[in-house]
Symmetry: C2
Subunit: 338 residues, 2 copies
Amino acid sequence: MASRATMADIARQLGISKAAVSYALNGQPGVAADTRERVLAVAQDLGWHPSASARALTGSELRVIGLALSRPTDAFAVDSFFFRFLAGVESVLVERGWSLLLRVVGDNTDLEVETYRRWWGEGRIDGVIVVDERHHDERIAAIEAMELPAVLCGGPRKDVRMPCLWTDQAGDGALVVEHLADLAHRRIAHISGPRIFAHERARQRGVRAAAARHGMEVITLEGSYAAADADKLTRRLVQQGEPPTALIFGNDHMSVAGLRTLRELEIAVPEQISVVSWDDSPLTTAVDPPLTALARDTQGYGRQAAEALLDLVAGRHRGRIAVPRSALRVRSSTAIAP
Amino acid sequence: MASRATMADIARQLGISKAAVSYALNGQPGVAADTRERVLAVAQDLGWHPSASARALTGSELRVIGLALSRPTDAFAVDSFFFRFLAGVESVLVERGWSLLLRVVGDNTDLEVETYRRWWGEGRIDGVIVVDERHHDERIAAIEAMELPAVLCGGPRKDVRMPCLWTDQAGDGALVVEHLADLAHRRIAHISGPRIFAHERARQRGVRAAAARHGMEVITLEGSYAAADADKLTRRLVQQGEPPTALIFGNDHMSVAGLRTLRELEIAVPEQISVVSWDDSPLTTAVDPPLTALARDTQGYGRQAAEALLDLVAGRHRGRIAVPRSALRVRSSTAIAP
């Protein structure tokens, strides 16, 4: 494990005794008020926090992992993927007597990093799980610089030292495209989620590469994961000169909304257009026809992430960890191209 | 606010100096190992934790609320109500710079109470939001005995001192029944969630009382919130001598599953049987026909709970707080009784 700032580091920097630093940090008398202020300032600068052994002495082992989410809370409320992931994380924590410190910071990765810095600096967490990997992800270097134990749900990236839980997004994309190729579709559309996310770019690459292998044409449109976007983009796609014969949507909400739009436009699914959902959820089987969907074991993914972090905190770096591939659940929303 | 155990209490109980207690609790030298052990044991017994002022001195205000859920993690993963609630809680916390300590403990309220006791004893939380009120709820007295600031999502109960967020479940039930009475239904069924939950009992009472006022017959069956249960109970209801003409399901998953079962049995909704969902969610509008549903502002409810707890922690006890009534969203799954 990386070294952390110690009381000795603070004492050295200020040219005072370790005892004075200790008194200041523990709120004991015997140190002048201005010295205390200077100690606290330096402690914060250096990211000092109470050591695990000191905690053990006071009977309060930490056993807390942190999760800060840079998403609007409204989006958080309907994200079935994240909740299944969280359930998986919790299932590991409850087995081992750990807790989760959670904060939904809104769409602001700077605030996410600042949250980690405070939690770590104040000794509130043992490590963090980093989710929603960005294409340009400034969180990673910041987290590594503060020597906060962390695992990344994403990657692998060549500049990253933390353990990565790697998903073969391109392979998942190929699964979908090959299913549609088998059904003789030649012109398909992929309505993705936001391209700021690394996994959305990887999925687009995977869909395009597989389509190229099969000589298929792909239209790629970027959505926000919201139903309203799916409605708008679906209308645009089907009202153009030569509509695609299959639509792949980036999440369950967009898929269900797109299906509803097709019904409103009196376009038969799957007879005229096939529909595939990138995520499976209770929504995809509630609709008629039930949707062909890429299903993954999202709770299992959450479990893997929590286990990798607890291993890291215990001193075992797991490197690159492969997350199991998705399976394509073929249902009635996909059929032979018209 | 209630008084908490202090270092002086510990010193008095052991007949040693406050300074010795302080050294022991802060992991400082100058106290014998066996004394330290005794201090830690008594501190744990008394539920001692570092005071807010000591925390302020060390620059680490707590600002954490706790939420321990006694549910199986599998159920947690699909509970849209809870996630919307959590999003509401988070929206208040992020505005004020607080964090949430979360633990899903499995179906075990003893472990939930034990979790609160440890979090509070170790100074990790400022207070808790208590959800999933039970009919016999032993958590409440335990939480009040440990003088942990808490708000109850439920009640009011005459033996409870903590602030209660009170929902008029009986009134919500009356809304549904009156809608069905207007449509000339005379024989209805209510497939509830588990009767261990206080809100499910209140809903049953409300449905029965409103039905009695309108001279309607009600069959009440207890479900588990799971789709499989709804399937089984729906079959039982419609295959009996005189089936009800309307089914009220206790959550969105049961409603959607019941609708699917009716379709499999070739029973037309709403022509032969009307269906009402007690909760509204993306599921209820994804299905065909979209479901008439009791909708509440669940994010708003989470906001109210978080605000009530932060007020309590700041010294302001809000007493009984009324949560806004649900609204009935009338859609195509309910119609005139056959």
